[in-house]
Amino acid sequence: MYPSDYRYTKDHEWIKVSGETGTVGITDYAQHELGDVVFVELPAAGKQVAAGKIFGTIESVKAVSEIFAPVSGDVIEANAALANTPEIINTDPHGAGWLIKMKLSNPTDVSGLMDAAAYQAFISEKEASA
């Protein structure tokens, strides 16, 4: 379910790092909680994002939710496909439904995030207590 080469946050974002570049999205758990996504608001290329701070919003039929940056860096690209087909976040959250690509300020920052096993345990605990 959760790709082993991704890292995860407690706010349910994932990041896949290759070199100094990271791709960011929301997890399958998050898309499931949100329900049908109808709109995504993302930053333009060149914008700086800071770890733990809001970088965009996702609007579903239920709510508008903030998306938090897993690590700090500069936005390289926002997923243009989401403008017309935001539902790919629901159908392929870990792939085609990615949100932004960013240049990491410090690539070692990701080591502070959860790996797939830790995230899986985190959401199991969440579901058990819910």
């Binding site: 709109f39 608001e41 609007e59 579903s60 039929v61 239920k62 709510a63 508008v64 903030e66």
Partner: protein, 448 residues
């Protein structure tokens, strides 16, 4: 609303069934010292007859038989009794805000139709369910521009309604928004040269009103080009909706903020009115307030919903798009009914009458010695003239003739104490215009 009286026996029974001895026991949780001991200082009780007599006497205190030339943001227009009787139907008058779409179809449909009418009138792609009034709509339009551009400077025409500017100042005092004002030229229109130098790359919006506070129609398209060249947005305010029956909607505007009072709402000493905010489709997610949408249910039948409600305050709390949590539903309904009664041709005819009567009034005024037209720009149903003396002094004398004179612009612009803003609508008769100019001629021929 029904009043259900209760007999002493019924009161006793109700109290017994919840286990208290007296009505006072219901307030036991309020500390003794905060309870009201004295009787309310109210006259009465009165019989039905006495109450009717009382209000008849109060109504008789209203002045009547006056002719008014006051406009300046609130306009006297003909209204049909059809509007008032329809909006007083219980289904509309007492219905609660339509959170539950499935049982609020009528209310939502009325809002949807209001939005459609407002989009068509303003020439914009989308209009919301209505705002408090024109001044708050203008302010919300500015805040919307601030969110859309991420910039914190706003340029406001001095010819924007001064009370709208006050509302903007109040709303934005603690929002880190810097407001800069741009003056006007001898045409009464915004000083485009001054505007061009004022717009910078921190400018979120340029706010202009058309017809503006002096009654002069602005040419918005070239102003919009100046703003768009620096990626600033244009907010166009409209205080007199009837002008849209004769004047092209502000071309190039990104957000239109309008007061809809002219459409079926009585001046009523300042409200309630209905504000309009309309914009481009691409800005819809920053539109404050609420939006009704048309859709189909699972069986393909037409239905109405609150669209984008997830951005409203009752769901998004402090992160909501704005503090607006509802809309002026009943006033917006009156506006929609009034416009449907008028129809497209009716609105054009109404606007043509306003324009013709205002032109006639200006021509008559210009024949009065000492009176001259103050601004050369085109106008709709309001125009500014200059008197040879203080407008307030002239108005005091006009009032003795049962004429409510023009707005003294000196009240808002200290340098314009001799300038008077006249408003003439379809309600003003030719005879009244002639009576006013004759009185003015007499007043001005007397030594000061």
């Amino acid at each position: 609303m029904r009043y259900l009286p209760k007999s002493p026996d019924e009161r006793r029974e109700m109290l017994a069934s919840i286990g208290v001895r007296s009505i006072d026991d219901l307030f036991a949780s309020i500390p003794e010292q905060f309870r009201l001991k004295a009787r309310l200082s109210l006259p009465g009780p009165f019989s039905e007859h006495e109450i009717i007599e009382y209000f008849r006497a109060r109504a008789a205190e209203n002045s009547c038989g006056y002719t008014s030339f006051l406009g300046a943001g609130v306009y006297n227009h003909l209204r049909s009794v059809v509007t008032d009787s329809l909006i007083q139907r219980g289904e509309f008058l007492t219905s609660y805000t339509p959170y539950q779409a499935e049982i609020s179809q009528g209310t939502l449909q009325a809002i949807f139709e209001f939005q459609t009418l407002m989009s068509e009138l303003t020439g914009m792609e989308v209009a919301n369910a209505s705002m408090w009034d024109g001044s708050t709509a203008t302010t919300e339009a500015v805040l919307m521009a601030q969110r859309l551009t991420g910039r914190n400077r706003v340029i406001v025409a001095r010819s924007l309604h001064p009370e709208y500017r006050q509302v903007l100042d109040t709303y934005t005092r603690n929002l880190g928004l810097r407001i800069c004002e741009v003056g006007f030229t001898s045409t009464g229109q915004i000083d485009a040269a001054q505007l061009e130098t004022a717009i910078d790359n921190q400018t979120a919006a340029v706010v202009v009103q058309s017809p503006n506070f002096f009654g002069v129609v602005e040419n918005v398209a070239p102003l919009a080009e100046l703003a768009h060249a620096k990626e600033a947005l244009v907010v166009a305010a409209i205080t007199e909706g009837v002008s849209l029956g004769a004047v092209r909607p502000p071309a190039g505007a990104d957000i239109v903020a309008m007061e809809a009072q002219s459409f079926g709402l009585a001046p009523s000493f300042g409200g309630p009115y209905a504000g309009v905010i309309a914009t481009r489709d691409k800005f819809v997610r920053q539109l404050p307030g609420r939006l009704a949408g048309e859709t189909v249910d699972t069986e393909g039948r037409r239905g109405y919903v609150l669209t984008l409600a997830t951005r409203e305050q009752h769901i998004r709390r402090e992160k909501a798009t704005s503090n607006i949590c509802t809309n002026q539903a009943l006033c917006a309904l009156a506006v929609a009914i009034h416009l449907c009664l008028l129809g497209k041709e009716g609105l054009k005819e109404l606007a043509a009458q306003n324009l013709a009567k205002a032109r006639f009034a200006l021509e008559e005024l210009e024949k009065v010695p000492g009176v001259r037209r103050a601004f050369s720009g085109p106008f709709f149903n309001e125009f500014t003239v200059e008197f040879p003396r203080s407008v307030k002094m002239v108005n005091a004398e006009l009032l003795r003739e049962k004429i409510i004179g023009p707005l003294p612009l000196g009240s808002f612009y200290p340098e314009l104490t001799k300038r008077a803003l006249f408003c003439v609508t379809e309600t003003t008769t030719r005879a009244e215009i002639e009576r006013m100019t004759a009185a003015l001629r007499q007043i001005l021929s007397n030594p000061v």
